[in-house]
Amino acid sequence: MTGTVQSIERAAAILRVLAGGPGRLGLAEIARSLDLAKGTTHGILRTLQHVGFVEQERTSGQYQLGAALLHLGSSYLDINELRSRSINWADPLAARSGEAVRIGTVLEGSVLVVHHVFRPDDTFQTLDIGTLLPLHATALGKVLLAYRAGGVGLPEHLESFTRRTVATPAELPAMLDKVREAGWAEEVEELTPGEAAIAAPIRGYGGLVVGAIGISGLVERVCDSHYQPRAKLIGYVREAARAVSRDLGAARL
């Protein structure tokens, strides 16, 4: 076994002290109870505060356990739970937009389709739940990348599907900045010629992005004559994403 990291041991001890204490504790008390120098203790507390495991009360300057620590175990969202909770909002989105709806999360560097609602025109369609889609070439994937859902990193090799697919990793950061700024992502003939899509983030407890919901369909229906996604459809997608997020957030409190 390799050696242990002293500062992490000390950080764990501080968390234990805070968890075992009656409420908030001051810097001096924490340092004293662990027989540590105040300066060392302060450095560790600031780091813990930075990652959200510890919070400092503004007026007294005392410390307590942070919300991020309390919800450490609950930030993971089961994909079947995500489907179950979003089904009531995915259906109206399909009805309003007239397009197929998919919900995706990240799995091993791809978009995993966890829910699929048919385009409501009663034509023959096949459920593609469980299918993997490329992150960089889909609206769902761009949303997941933009918000680093599931801690996903930027892909290094970009497969080209059409001449509109983002070709080089260097283009990604600016594109994802745009997604974060807008709060939604588009895909116009980047995966399949003639098809376009719009997606928006689904947020779980504490605002963490746990998935993406979007619509996809023929480019002439999803986009206007300038190849811009229609504002009305963007509104529907974002509204559905917010509704699912509200449900997920409320359930985690």
């Binding site: 089961d78 739970e81 089904i87 048919f118 009663d122 459920l127």
Partner: protein, 497 residues
Amino acid sequence: MTERYVVAIDQGTTSTRCIVFDRRGQLVSLAQQEHKQHFPKPGWVEHDAMEIWRNLRRLAPRVLSRAGIGLDQVAAVGIANQRETTVIWDAKTGVPIGRAIVWQDTRTDEMVHALSERPGAAEVEEICGLPLATYFSGPRLRWMLDHTPGLAERAERGEVLFGTMETWLIWNLTGGLHVTDVTNASRTMLLDVRTLDWSPAALAFFGIPRAMLPEVQPSIGVFGHAESGFPGVRIGAALGDQQAALFGQTCFTPGEAKCTYGTGSFLLLNTGPEPVRSSHGLLSTIAYQIAGEPAAYALEGSIAITGSLVQWFRDQLEVIASAPEIETLARTVADNGGCYIVPAFSGLYAPHWRSEARGVIVGLTSYITKGHLARAVLEATAWQTREVVDAMNADSGLTLKTLKVDGGMTADNLLMQTIADVLDVPVVRPLAAETVSLGAAYAAGLAVGYWPDLEDLSRNWHRAGQWIPAMDPELREAEYGNWRRAVTRTFDWIQPA
């Protein structure tokens, strides 16, 4: 003109929900509140009717504010309710006499057994279209009258009133209107399913005073105006929850069937304007009645425990933290490992009707993991569906071509695929999973002219998902054989005292 909406009240077994629907049948807003389940003894299940009414009063303003609409924008309210749950209350004070006895409750088992040997039992079964069983509210009502001192006399004098949940809610909403609808009444064993009124013979058989019973009305037609909850709004419809789901799935034509997967599961087949008597353990029930028109009938296969088996897995065994995780756990293994769970928690319903049966887990070996158990939990729902579909095909002489599904469990993709596999027919989910509420909304909207006719409602139905069978036929037959053997292991467990 301001847009108008219809509100559905879904008073279910575990919660009460209010949902606002728009003209296209799409969900606009939802508010939900669970109520407490009381289990005072094994086999007993009770609800506090007052808690349920309080919940509804709280939900009403909440669902409207979430939709951003006012009462003047509500065209009508429709009610769908858990069926057969029985409540008695004081006609003056409105205070319930004890707790409501829930449809899953089996305390009337011995009484029902004794009643079935009395003369007239066969005649009553013929009149009401139902087999004598603990499931229905008539025997429950008799039990309550027997076990509360002085209650039978007060019932004779009309001082206490009987109702199923829709009756209780309408009485409270309207400030004293004592009515029921034909679908709920058809689950009491007290209704003549042909005349659509209380049967004097059945009332005499169970010893139920007429004075305590609500007036029977068509399901679809204005019952009255609400005074509280949704003051001023018309109550346009009331239906049992399963009949509401049949309506919400727009199964208006004879031969159309749906299965709702919830706490229990219920497969209903529209059989048209005449009741069909089952010789395979199905119930003959009323599907709906539009005011001024003849009733539409249905064959029903009721399965007591489906979603509640998943809840048991979550709450009693604590193997999973949330119901949807059952699918995640089940997918950790490729098959059931030879393990079968038959959840005869309160006996078996259709097609067996064995109240003395109790649940079993069979095929346990040291190989079995919680993943296999999770598979067995989901497969139990699929095989129970298969048994009911077989009975329905035999009774109706038709072969089911596709199964329309709805309810919370349709979010379970593995379960839906398994059902398609074991039935060997496509399973189809409509674009609105909330068909119970939607049916209540459709019915209420139809009653007040918000929607013009049934054809208009049918146009709102769209396919949202479809699962195609993909199981090897030999494997299917072998597994079905195993399941049937497992079922026989549940029989004769509870022995007469």
